[in-house]
């Protein structure tokens, strides 16, 4: 690496003020909306999942429709550890879930990442469908369609119990999300992140300069799978239950929608998109329990017509316009 490149990356590692915003908002929400913590915890967990998706789609250009497989594998790993092996410590479960999902991501990544485009989408989709079918059939392990019950979780560090109000769940999810965000951010600002961007933008050229493209892709895919697994474990722990929907095709589609809605390849798109989508859905569903699909559908079509870069993209062009207006 050339010295000036590493300085460039070191310089950009410094956290800008705006990057603190999500965390301030998240903490403020904890105190301002104590009645919404359950929804809040769900949002945080899905942000983690969507963040992992952004890593593969936004930074490595791997379009997948099977990411829920890793989320589900993580969720079932945590659940099965508790229900069948009596391992109830949340942090231990988290580590195990991340590891298992990461390994599965590595194994399947070696197989599917040789392809691209529609083929890649179909392969990821088919593999996640196989995972779902296995979970449906292995009822003695997973409970099948009835779900895996009997999951109990010990207090975190032996002290913080998961409470009815969702306080622990919220802060715990927030803490995990923060740590992962920090790691992902550091990773993306390293030469590793730069080589990913290179692959995404011009694969042939990266191959030309001797980058180990396939190895990089498998690495990032495994990391992303591991993060999705962590999110899955959080889901299990905050619900003390796992159902087949954690592995579903619909979930894979939904998180893709959240990501594109927020903005792809921008790290914070996952935060904005997920929160916007889940809050919109929650509010619409409460006002119009039967017809909220219509509203969400119109919202999505509207975004593609008027805000292609997602919400963050729209924000960019808005600020750009404002700046121009102010200069004039």
């Amino acid at each position: 690496m050339h010295p000036h490149i590493s300085t460039f990356y070191l310089a950009s590692v410094r956290v800008r003020a705006a990057e603190l915003l999500p965390w301030i908002v998240a903490l403020a929400a904890f105190f301002l909306f104590p009645d919404f913590l359950s929804l809040g915890a769900r949002i945080l967990i899905y942000i983690l999942l969507v963040l992992s998706l952004d890593l593969v789609i936004g930074y490595a250009g791997i379009v997948t429709l099977g990411h829920a497989a890793f989320f589900g594998i993580g969720a079932y790993t945590a659940g099965i550890l508790s229900a069948h092996f009596g391992i109830k410590d949340p942090l231990l479960q988290l580590a195990a879930a991340g590891t298992v999902a990461c390994l599965v991501g590595f194994g399947t990544g070696l197989y599917v990442l040789r392809t691209s485009g529609l083929t890649l989408i179909m392969l990821t989709l088919a593999i996640s469908a196989l995972c779902l079918e296995v979970a449906n059939k292995a009822t003695s392990w997973t409970g099948g369609a009835d779900g895996l019950s009997g999951v109990t979780i010990a207090p975190i560090l032996g002290y913080f119990r998961f409470d009815l109000w969702g306080k622990t769940a919220y802060l715990y999810s927030l803490a995990v999300l923060f740590v992962v965000w920090w790691l992902v951010r550091t990773l993306l600002n390293s030469p590793f992140g730069a080589s990913l961007a290179g692959i995404r933008d011009n694969r042939t050229r990266m191959e030309g300069i001797g980058a180990l493209v396939n190895r990089r892709l498998v690495q990032v895919y495994s990391i992303s799978a591991g993060i999705a697994g962590l999110a899955g474990a959080l889901l299990t722990q905050t619900n003390q239950f796992v159902g087949l929907n954690a592995l579903g095709f619909e979930l894979s589609g939904e998180i893709l929608v959240m990501l594109v809605l927020g903005g792809v390849g921008r790290l914070y798109g996952a935060f904005i998109g997920t929160a916007a989508y889940l809050i919109a859905q929650d509010q619409l569903a409460k006002k119009f329990p039967e017809d909220w699909y219509l509203g969400v559908g119109i919202l999505l079509v509207g975004v593609t017509m008027f805000a292609r870069g997602g919400l963050l993209g729209a924000l960019d062009s808005l600020t750009a316009r404002l700046r121009r207006a102010l200069k004039l």
Binding site: G166, F241, G243, N245, E290, W292
Partner: protein
């Protein structure tokens, strides 16, 4: 399936009133978590309609000054995390007195620890997995357990057939139905043989190959369990297409394959199909006739209530009983006590009671046959094959 604009208006007004009326001291808050979107929204829709119909018709049954406020939430299908979130919000934010609805068993299972911790009496209007009701001491079930209908079907089959083929959907309730049917069939007739069996994927569009295979095994009857809805209609279609009735093979199953609301779309194929269920729209009881008439008056002549509507109707009966007895000031433990001892002879399904020990419903299982009455196909009740019974799995597995 046109809805009446006036009715929709009325419903919106009702929702608006229900959600915006200031809660007085005498308001009982009822949280409903149900499924109003997704591929099985019909069940949730019927639940919702039955709840509103019951409330409309039983205003005068409430003690003076007491009113009931319903807060409905859509869980979108089997999604434990979402239903748990919704239930949690209903409990901590809306401060509901009673939680009800709950179409899906996994959703019920996810809510169980909440109900226990928050001491919220939870009245299950569906959630049929046998084990579900055992998961919280604050659960009471007004629907049915998955083991029940196939068990009594098996007992009946043991007396009438020697060779039976079993075809069930490949998921947990299907496996339960298979086990329950086979247990009763073997108990009833040690000579009887299961000549073959198959578990069919839920995502099956075409049942012909499965039934063709069943036909080749040459059974006297095929026992089928698939979830009510489009799959029931699809399997009936395949049965007719293959001409199995002409080949002398009898189709038997749980009420799901001849669901009242699906029968009109099935042509004449279901004629003669034998099923066991706890409710038939055709049931000849005054309470049922009154319920049917009220439903049709409110929702149109072409709307046929499903069994879920009846579960919801009866659950509301239990809930109103608990409200009356406590004069609108609900204590969770007292509510559960009242609900677990609830009984009535006036349900559309006949006499029902909650079994105090298991908190599960005690009801009749009827043997029915599809017949044409006044040019319409209906499930005609032939006899009571399980008299005031509790789900056999729950009976055996509750400590």
């Amino acid at each position: 399936m046109h809805k009446h604009p006036a009715l929709i208006g009325l419903m919106f007004t009702a929702v608006w009133l229900a959600t915006s009326a200031p809660a007085s001291a005498q308001t009982v808050k009822l949280g409903v978590v149900t499924t109003l979107t997704g591929s099985n929204s019909l069940l949730g829709e019927h639940m919702d309609k039955a709840i509103r119909l019951y409330m409309e018709m039983h205003k005068s049954d409430l003690p003076p000054g007491v009113n009931v406020q319903v807060i409905t939430r859509d869980d979108g299908g089997p999604s434990p995390d979402k239903s748990k979130q919704l239930a949690q919000e209903l409990i901590v934010r809306e401060k509901i007195d009673i939680l009800t609805g709950i179409v899906w068993s996994p959703n019920g299972a996810a809510i169980a620890p909440l109900a226990t911790e928050a001491k919220i009496p939870t009245v299950l209007m569906q959630a049929g997995a046998s084990a579900n009701v055992t998961m919280s001491p604050y659960f009471v079930r007004f629907s049915f357990g998955t083991w029940s209908a196939p068990y009594y079907m098996g007992a009946y089959a043991a007396k009438h057939y020697k060779k039976v083929y079993i075809a069930v959907s490949d998921y947990a309730p299907g496996a339960d139905s298979e086990a329950a049917f086979e247990k009763a069939f073997k108990e009833g007739n040690s000579d009887g043989t299961i000549v073959g069996r198959v578990r069919m994927p839920l995502a099956t569009a075409d049942f012909v190959p499965f039934l063709q295979r069943a036909r080749d095994a040459n059974p006297e009857a095929i026992f089928v369990f698939v979830p009510a809805g489009k799959l029931g209609a699809s399997i009936m279609k395949a049965f007719g297409d293959l001409g199995l009735d002409k080949a002398g093979i009898k189709l038997i199953g749980t009420g799901d394959i001849t669901a009242d609301e699906e029968l009109p779309t099935m042509g004449n194929t279901p004629l003669g199909v034998i099923t066991v269920s706890h409710y038939s729209g055709n049931g000849d009881r005054p309470a049922n006739k009154a319920f049917y008439a009220a439903w049709k008056k409110a929702y149109g002549e072409n709307s046929i209530p499903s069994f879920t509507a009846v579960h919801a109707w009866d659950a509301m009966g239990g809930i109103y009983h608990a409200i009356r007895e406590q004069k609108g000031k609900l204590d969770p433990d007292r509510t559960i006590e009242l609900l677990r001892n609830y009984k009535t002879d006036d349900s559309p399904r006949g006499p029902i009671a909650i079994d105090p020990r298991t908190r599960d419903i005690r009801q009749n299982e009827y043997l029915r046959e599809v017949k044409s009455v006044d040019g319409k196909l209906v499930n005609v009740e032939l006899e009571v094959v399980g008299k005031m019974v509790v789900d056999p799995w729950v009976e055996a597995n509750t400590k």
